[in-house]
């Protein structure tokens, strides 16, 4: 039985762990030199900060995950530094340091993780402007701040967490813009014992952070010397900066699920097309399983649970009989987390109106330097026609960054519902490779 697990973040580690416990030896493929995923990414050798400094409140989980990762590598066909760039029924193509190989699979668990979701603004392609995730990776794995006068903009937990982390190391951001208004965030969470929005506000307050809520960035000035932004009352401001990090939540890396032929559905809450899956993680294509943020944004706790659950689904489907109690407990925990996650999505929504209204001159597609005006002028009836007409989404990143905002821009331009413009179809290779 050839079982492949793609990704060695929280979902991938737990999936592999459960497969190995059942006596399987999966092929385990990770694009990075080591596992841990983005959230528990390790610095390269030579850095001295320990788990507590690197992962804060999650250091215990980070430590456990890294220990599991290390223990599992020799029990699998571990392939780090390896990109899966194409996936078809029954086989897949990998490349590692220029060496290509085709591998067969009967079951595959995709734990492909996520990246920041952005709203392009004029000037955002300049050096000095990064994603929030980038600014956090810079700090965590390179000990760097992306600048000396950093503005952070976006929404959700990562925004405040990063602001707090930078403050802690003596490099507090000069400006923090949270696009959600606190009234939205507080209304969004009735019925939860723990209110994530209030907890985050408390954390920000304790860290001494000044957060502008209901505030959005408008433009990064030439040379990344200043940020123009708008406060909740509609006043415009200009703040001198030398770096800007931005991110409005995360979006799953669904390219491989797409190539596998999985069916997608539009998720109203996340305003994203997500691969369909059952509660255990089975995609619509036989033999394909999805877990973690690569399937739907849930965070690392959910990812660990979902990784184990997907592995159990594989075991069930090949005729093993895992203890029903184990699956029941996992399903319950996942359902509980899903409720919490929905509240977070409502509290910190993607500011789609801001994306839809981006100024004409905004470089909507940074790969091919295509403006929002060009997408509007295409007046295409759906996004793939818009792509063909403008090349938006055809560049090296395959629409990873421009896909969601391009759909917002087009939907507004032709006056239709966002779901009706559809989604950008994936193409191989999922990332540039030399053939």
């Amino acid at each position: 039985m050839s079982v492949v697990v793609v990704g060695a973040g929280p979902a991938g580690v737990r999936a592999v762990e459960r497969l190995v416990a059942a006596g399987l030896r999966p092929i385990w493929i990770e694009e990075a030199p080591d596992g841990g995923g983005r959230v528990f990414q390790k610095p390269p050798p030579g850095f001295s900060r320990g788990h507590r400094a690197l992962y804060g409140a999650d250091h215990g989980r980070a430590f456990a995950l890294h220990a599991a990762l290390a223990a599992l590598k020799p029990l699998t066909d571990w392939r780090p530094d390896t990109l899966v760039w194409n996936l078809r029924p029954g086989d897949l193509d990998v490349v590692s340091d220029g060496t290509h190989e085709r591998l067969g699979w009967e079951r595959i668990i995709l734990c492909t993780g996520a990246m920041d979701r952005v709203v392009p603004i004029p000037g955002w392609t300049q050096p000095g402007v990064t994603s929030l995730g980038a600014a956090q990776i810079a700090l965590k794995t390179q000990g760097l701040a992306i600048g000396r006068r950093v503005a952070l903009c976006g929404t959700g937990p990562l925004l405040l967490l990063l602001a707090q982390q930078l403050t802690k190391v003596g490099a507090p951001p000069v400006l923090v813009l949270e696009s959600a208004a606190w009234s939205t965030t507080l209304r969004a969470v009735p019925g939860l014992a723990w209110n994530p929005a209030a907890a985050l506000r408390g954390m920000a307050w304790r860290a001494g952070l000044k957060v502008q809520t209901g505030a959005v960035p408008l433009r990064v000035e030439e040379g990344c010397t200043a940020l123009r932004w708008r406060d909740s009352r509609g006043w415009e401001h200009r703040t001198e900066v030398d770096a800007v990090a931005m991110g409005w939540g995360l979006k799953p890396e669904t390219q491989l699920a797409d190539l596998a032929g999985a069916r997608f559905a539009f998720d109203r809450l996340q305003r994203l097309w997500l691969p369909e899956r059952d509660a255990a993680g089975r995609a619509s294509v036989p033999g394909v399983y999805l877990a973690g943020d690569g399937a739907s944004i849930g965070g690392s706790v959910v990812a660990e649970l979902a990784g184990t659950r997907a592995a159990l689904a594989v075991l069930q489907d090949i005729g093993e009989k895992p203890d029903p109690l184990e699956t029941t407990l996992l399903d319950r925990a996942l359902a509980r987390e899903a409720r919490f996650r929905r509240a977070l999505e409502r509290a910190f929504p993607y500011p789609h109106a801001l994306a839809a209204a981006m100024p004409d001159e905004t470089l909507l597609c940074r790969c091919e330097a295509i403006t929002a005006a060009e997408m509007r002028a295409s007046a295409a009836p759906e996004i793939n026609r818009g792509k063909a007409a403008t090349r938006v989404g055809m560049g090296r990143c395959q629409g990873r960054l421009c896909g969601p905002p391009a759909a917002e821009v087009l939907a507004q331009a032709i006056g239709c519902d966002i779901a009706e413009v559809g989604r950008l179809r994936g193409q191989m290779p999922v990332k540039p490779v030399v053939l």
Binding site: G46, M115, P127, T130, A134, A135, G147, A171, R366
Partner: protein, 111 residues
């Protein structure tokens, strides 16, 4: 070039107009110095730096120019997703600067 205690930034480098991105070295920066070449000129960074870190923390401002004439770029995602940080490593071809560790003597060329 680098502060011996490794906690202070070099605020220099980028001429006006080519992007002034300067990443600030904050923590754990007393790692061994690594020599490399950037566009033919000798440069220095620290062991464990990615190519992106070596270029930006060294005050060199950008990793590439947009092939569409809209100016310099320095990546965006730092996680191998945006594909906006390619730099030429002599003898190895184009590499993502955010995901490639600097090695002593590497010759980087920006486009």
């Amino acid at each position: 070039m680098l502060d011996p205690k490794g906690r202070v930034v070099m605020v220099s480098g980028a001429p006006r107009g080519v992007g002034r991105a300067i990443a600030e070295r904050l923590l754990d920066q007393d790692r061994p110095v690594v020599d490399f070449f950037l566009d033919g000129a000798p440069a220095q960074a620290r062991a464990g730096d990615t190519l992106l870190t070596a270029i930006l923390a060294g005050g060199h401002g950008h990793v590439r120019h947009s092939e569409f004439g809209d100016g310099p770029r320095a990546g965006f995602c730092w996680m191998g997703a945006c594909q906006d940080c390619f730099v030429l490593v002599e003898g190895r071809g184009a590499r993502r600067a955010c995901g490639t560790l600097l090695e002593p003597g590497m010759k980087l060329r920006r486009r």
